[in-house]
């Protein structure tokens, strides 16, 4: 049976932990809000680009002069861009993403497709390295508020590898932000780019300058870069919301523990008092008797 003093010390330590986890959850909440805003602000650019791409892709249907980033080929080697947080304390988020990525690797292997990984984020790198997965590149310590230029180093590698035929398909694996309590690991095909289909009447018929093909050649890599950037923003929002929820429940648990421990402490204290009283009463009776 621990003494009252021991329990009191325990309570204090749990209370301190609760303070820390509460602060962490509040920080995560504000970072999450910012990440959501950033994802939202990037949306007009993404939407316009998607529309232009659809229009341009509708122009050239010829398989021969299709831009390399649009051309499909037989897949022998695939690349996986794995976007994870750098840090833990995010509940089940990290292992969920990594599990999804591992599943993808195994699926590819079953079809005799070898894979390499571009890891963005320490948790994904550690996981893949532990299982001896072939790593193409690693990026860590991305800021909480990345700009497009922060992610282009990663997207350049991907685009170059694909253009040079080193890989035949590129997948993005990251946690999509559904809402505060739900982040879903998703797999998206980054390359080859599949433009959205246009309804026939909505083709605008732009004047292209210099030519449609040249505009397309500039547009496609930027489109891929933007997709990577967007995935990173989603991943950040997911990370922060997962951390916020995990830290909030940690705080709740700590507070529940304080209640239990206080109850136990009072019991021990009362038992002590009862014992002492018995001793005194017993002693007095002995003296009198």
């Amino acid at each position: 049976m621990p003494s009252v003093r021991q329990i009191r010390r325990r309570i204090r330590s749990v209370q301190n932990t609760a303070k820390i986890t509460k602060a962490m959850s509040m920080i995560a909440a504000s970072k999450m809000r910012r990440a959501q805003e950033m994802a939202l602000r990037g949306r007009p650019y993404a939407e316009r680009m998607q529309a232009l791409l659809a229009d341009l892709a509708a122009q050239s249907q010829d398989e021969e002069d299709l831009h390399p980033l649009l051309r499909r080929r037989e897949i022998k080697k695939a690349q996986i861009v794995l976007i994870t947080p750098d840090r833990g304390l995010t509940g089940g988020l990290n292992s969920n993403i990594n599990r999804r990525a591992a599943q993808l690797v195994l699926e590819q292997k079953a079809q005799n497709i070898s894979t390499n990984v571009v890891a963005v984020g320490r948790k994904g790198r550690d996981f893949m390295a532990r299982y001896g997965q072939d790593m193409r590149a690693v990026f860590t310590n991305l800021s909480d508020r990345p700009v497009l230029a922060d992610t282009t180093a990663a997207s350049r590698i991907v685009i170059d590898d694909y253009s040079q035929g080193l890989v035949d398909a590129v997948y993005l694996v990251y946690a999509r932000f559904v809402n505060t309590t739900l982040q879903r690991p998703v797999v998206e095909t980054l390359l080859p780019i599949v433009p959205a289909k246009l309804e026939a009447q909505s083709a605008v018929g732009y004047i292209y300058e210099p030519t449609g093909l040249q505009v397309l050649a500039q547009l496609l890599p930027r489109f891929a870069e933007m997709q990577v950037y967007h995935a990173v923003l989603e991943a950040i929002a997911s990370e922060q919301s997962a951390r916020m929820v995990a830290m909030r429940s940690a705080t709740d648990n700590a507070n529940a523990m304080v209640v239990d421990l206080t109850l136990e402490m009072n019991k021990v204290r009362q038992e002590g008092i009862t014992k002492e009283l018995l001793d005194i009463v017993g002693g007095a009776a002995a003296v009198e008797g």
Partner: protein, 144 residues
């Protein structure tokens, strides 16, 4: 007077969204001016300055390449980066230009000439816009 909608967006944010009366943009084959009710157009942009006329006032912006789309009396500039003249840090732009030039002159083994040249052009575009503003206003230079 006829106006059209001008939106300048980058991957990070919506930089500008106003009703304007004309835009002059650094197109791929040279400068091109857009007036209201222009035909649908999609062009590549070079790094350079964007001159916006609104209510008789001219605003300058530095863009570092991208696309411009004109459709249904609306101009959308999808810029890699865009800054208003007042946002440009002159000293930093000068520094960037110097660095880019040095890199090109030094021709190190790992030099990516294309990247170096494009960062030089970007810096030049910024400087041009920033200098022009200072030239016309001739006010005291901003601190910092």
């Amino acid at each position: 007077m006829a106006t059209m909608r001008l939106e300048i967006v980058t991957a990070e944010r919506l930089v500008y969204s106003e009703e304007v009366s004309s835009v002059v943009a650094p197109g791929f084959d040279g400068e091109l001016g857009i007036l209201p009710h222009h035909a649908p157009l999609l062009t590549l942009l070079k790094p350079g300055e964007l001159r916006i006329r609104k209510d008789g006032q001219e605003t300058l912006m530095a863009v570092t390449g991208g696309f411009m789309e004109v459709f249904e009396n609306k101009v959308v500039v999808l810029a890699d980066a865009a800054e208003r003249d007042s946002e440009i840090d002159l000293a930093r732009a000068e520094e960037a230009l110097k660095r880019a030039k040095e890199r090109i002159v030094a021709r190190g083994a790992d030099l990516n000439l294309e990247h170096a040249l494009s960062s030089m052009r970007r810096a030049e575009a910024r400087l041009k816009v920033a200098r022009r503003r200072r030239g016309t206003t001739a006010g005291p230079t901003r601190p910092g």
